[in-house]
Symmetry: C2
Subunit: 219 residues, 2 copies
Amino acid sequence: MRSAFHQQLEDLTEGVAQMCQLAGTAMQHATHALLEADLTAAESVISDHELIKDRAATAERDAFVLLALQAPVASDLRAVLGALKNVADADRMAVLARHIAEITRRRHPAHALPGDVHGHFTEMGRLAVDIGTATRKVVRSGDPESAAQLARDDDALDALHRHLFTVVMAPDWSHSVASAVDVTLLSRYYERFADHAVEIGRRVIYQATGELPVTELRH
Amino acid sequence: MRSAFHQQLEDLTEGVAQMCQLAGTAMQHATHALLEADLTAAESVISDHELIKDRAATAERDAFVLLALQAPVASDLRAVLGALKNVADADRMAVLARHIAEITRRRHPAHALPGDVHGHFTEMGRLAVDIGTATRKVVRSGDPESAAQLARDDDALDALHRHLFTVVMAPDWSHSVASAVDVTLLSRYYERFADHAVEIGRRVIYQATGELPVTELRH
């Protein structure tokens, strides 16, 4: 019975890991679509989100069956409940990638971004994709050290997010207010993407050590 | 044993209902702080969020104990897992109210809002507070009809959110880009607040009828 439980928990964990990877891939394609005003890429991010939602539904069902049939307690129960929260965070990461694709589609054939913030968003996209991959690895390995690294990756993305505010709000911002609004929301989507990854990392740390990291979610 | 379970589930549900009310109250104070540039009110929203976080932690602990000791199955298990998700949504609602207070504090002694959008935010605040109260009632009663009403309240808030975009992006927007950025984020916080209430409503409907409403979360 115990061993069946651990096999099922492993499957559930692997499902979460794959969702994190899919969210990272969605972010990669969404960033490409945004930077190139590529409508086809934007639309594929939007339609591919259905696949990620299916994964989330499957993982939730697996967790439900596991709880109903195995009635785990203590750390086993904590692991299943943590996995369920991770599913919600990974799904939300994918929703944020979809939001970026939706803004891209709404502005097409125009570019949503003025050329002079391309560099910032290229870097935010790169960081978000790396965070997606790192989150997949952290979920699989359960390693608290790598999980703590996610908060540091998030700091880099946060710094870019804050910097973009100063760019948009500077007196020499030469683009439209509409553009500033798009940049604000897009930047927030990248920032929130990383926040959810940090939440997953915090759960991995808690699972491994029984303690929550001191840093507190601020967003 | 069954009856102990149902008493505990009722306590858990009541905890969620109270969190929804607290989030609504936080939104009321945050909106007042925003409209009046009232620093004291803003700071009390920020510090009161600790109380809501404590409530969330207590509710999560209660759910954990309930699952571990009672090992519920079928609809009882679904109810506990649904309550856990509701806790996360209600907490997030309170975080969004805190974000509004934080922007108010950051801009103080200046007003974060230009005078000509005061009316919009007064109305968004009113709707959000009503949604908080309605969500508390829906959680307590478990009534699917009132739960479905939450999606309609959300539509009203969504419409205001979309309208604000047209105001901010209109060629005759006479305020700074910084102001447009604040309005964009603030409006998004109200909109997301209502989204989380709708999610709670969807779970109440699912719990009562076994079916998910057709409307799909778009945000």
